[in-house]
Amino acid sequence: MDVVDRILGTKKTADSNGHAPVDSGLITDLAALTTQRTPWQSVQLARELKRPHSIEVINGVFDKFEELHGDRGYRDDPAVVGGIAELEGVGPVVVVAQQRGSTTEENIARSFGMPYPEGYRKAIRLYRMAEKFHLPLVTLVDTPGAYPGPEAEERGQAEAIAKSISTMCGLQTPIVAVILGEGGSGGALSLAVGDVVLALQNAIYSVISPEGAAAILWRSATEAEKAANALKLAASDLLRLGIVDGLIPEPAGGAHTDSAATIAAIKTAIVAQVDHLGRVPIADLLSARYERYRHIGTVVEPLAGIAPAPKTEPFWRRIMRGI
């Protein structure tokens, strides 16, 4: 595939320029995972109140973050934080993140990191700004999901999520998405369509919360641990399934035991990925982004042969690693 070749060529040029390998500091091989946790342990760690949240991560990873507010239509949603910041060695980027609180007051003010439609519409506005000014886009995902209240329904939660995903699909600028903690369903995906999608080692990303799945499928909320196992929502599962491209290692006790080290690892990963993607022609990037999602999923087609999930690494992960 010539897109792959062109992108890999770009990568080699970057390497010979003295840059570090793009996957430096990332776990892209499951065998390299030293700590093994159960999915349920990951769920607990991902939701840990003291886990570094988006604003703390933004302030640690980027310089001179200037927050930008508002959706130009209804409200500034504090559950979504976005703006422009400097990324060391790269230059200005646009950052969009979900922000959950570390205290009860902050959680109430930010609706526990559950965006309203206007939060997604603010995100879309900032995506378009990134595109207009050719700034790479970095998103940080950390949400239990989109806010499920009646006002959110009335103002078009579904429409806002759909448009956010659609906008990211065609956005003419590089996108790096990082799942920091909890990636809750469509409310997370609407910030997580990217050229490269990374996850922290103990992050989770799921189509439904384990509690929700337990209530529906096991008819008992107490079976959440069982559901967490079945849903394959842990970062290591997501890596294996080709949903994320690499894991950012956390300290042995979890990210909250050493925020500074965690944030340093996030910074290393983001710098490498944004730097690499910035060297790829935008048309190639958009083709690869389309293909990245195009090939996720497992279908069986008896007459035309079987097309199950790729047993080897998907090509976009090879692109990322430059091999």
Binding site: A146, Y147, P148, G149, P150, A152, E153, E154, R155, G156, Q157, A158, E159, I161, A162, K163, I165, S166, M168, C169, G170, S185, G186, L189, S190, V193, Y205, S206, V207, I208, A213, I216, L217, W218, A227, A230, L231, K232, L233, L238, L241, I243, R289, Y290, Y293, R294, I296, G297, T298, V299, V300, E301, P302, L303, P308, A309
Partner: protein, 279 residues
């Protein structure tokens, strides 16, 4: 049906009671009226094959991707294994999964038509639905024809976990290409359309049509109600409510759906004029 006497007089394989006006409806007549109550116009759910029959020019339907079936990528088991659920649904419905796709003509316009089937695991969207809808979008792009998707779904299929979630991005990627090529996409939203289906392709049509009283919402009303701990407004998440809030273009009675689609397809058909405009 509160009375035993009624039950005997109206055996359920012959009669259905309308939940809106309580009229007892003769099943054959109900089917002949496209599952719309002949007394009060209550819209019952319509099967995917019947929907295609209703919309397509007679004999114009060519089905695609007939034999695409689901894998079990997660080895998922809840109260029974996922492959067993699939097999049971296939046996019960006679369909391979929750979407049927094909090329049709509607009032002489060639169109890619995809119809979701709520009877198959609640119309849930896993890899097969994602793949079939994406291919329908890609065929529309390749043939430069419009795309129509008729939604009816509880949302993403839990048994394929995050892979189901990714189908939203996969389908929207294809729809985005269709949009950039200037091709029409019409979304028809029927009862019920919720969750990840509403939060992706169902909400983004150039034209969005809904059926009367269809349940249309992102979060289940139960979840929403629990969130605020109070009763929801009247008509909440029904088609007319969603219309008033600005998210669908029209609520169209089923009897008029075919002609309405034909109208928009004809209006959006490129004319000779367009060539001059591109000068």
């Amino acid at each position: 049906m509160p009375f035993g006497r009624q039950r005997k007089e109206f055996p359920s394989h012959l009669w259905t009671q309308c939940p809106t006006c309580a009229e007892m409806l003769f099943n054959k007549q109900l089917a002949r009226n496209n599952m719309v109550c002949t007394k009060c116009e209550h819209h019952f759910r319509l099967g995917a094959r019947e929907r295609i029959e209703l919309l397509a020019d007679k004999g114009s339907f060519t089905e695609h991707d007939v034999d695409l079936t689901s894998g079990d990528p997660l080895g998922f088991t809840d109260q029974k294994p996922y492959p067993q659920r699939i097999q049971q649904s296939q046996a019960k419905s006679g369909e391979k999964d929750a979407a049927i796709c094909g090329t049709v003509r509607i009032d002489e316009n060639q169109v890619e038509l995809a119809v979701m089937d709520f009877d198959f695991m609640g119309g849930s969207m896993g890899s097969v639905v994602g793949e079939k809808l994406t291919r329908a979008g890609e065929r529309a792009l390749a043939n430069r024809t419009p795309l129509i998707i008729v939604s009816s779904s509880g949302g993403a299929r839990m048994q394929e976990g995050t892979l189901s979630l990714m189908q939203m991005a996969k389908i929207l990627g294809a729809l985005h290409r269709l949009d950039e090529a200037g091709l029409p996409y019409v979304s028809v939203v029927t009862d019920p359309t919720t969750g990840g289906v509403l939060a992706s392709f169902a909400s983004l049509g150039d034209i969005i049509l809904a059926e009367p009283n269809a349940l249309i919402g992102f979060s289940g009303a139960r979840v929403t109600s629990e969130t605020i701990g109070e009763k929801l407004p009247k008509g909440f998440q029904r088609a007319e409510f969603v219309l008033a809030h600005g998210f669908v273009d029209q609520v169209v009675p089923r009897a008029q759906l075919r002609e309405r689609l034909a109208y928009f397809l004809n209006a959006f058909r490129p004319s000779a004029r367009d060539l001059r405009w591109s000068l």
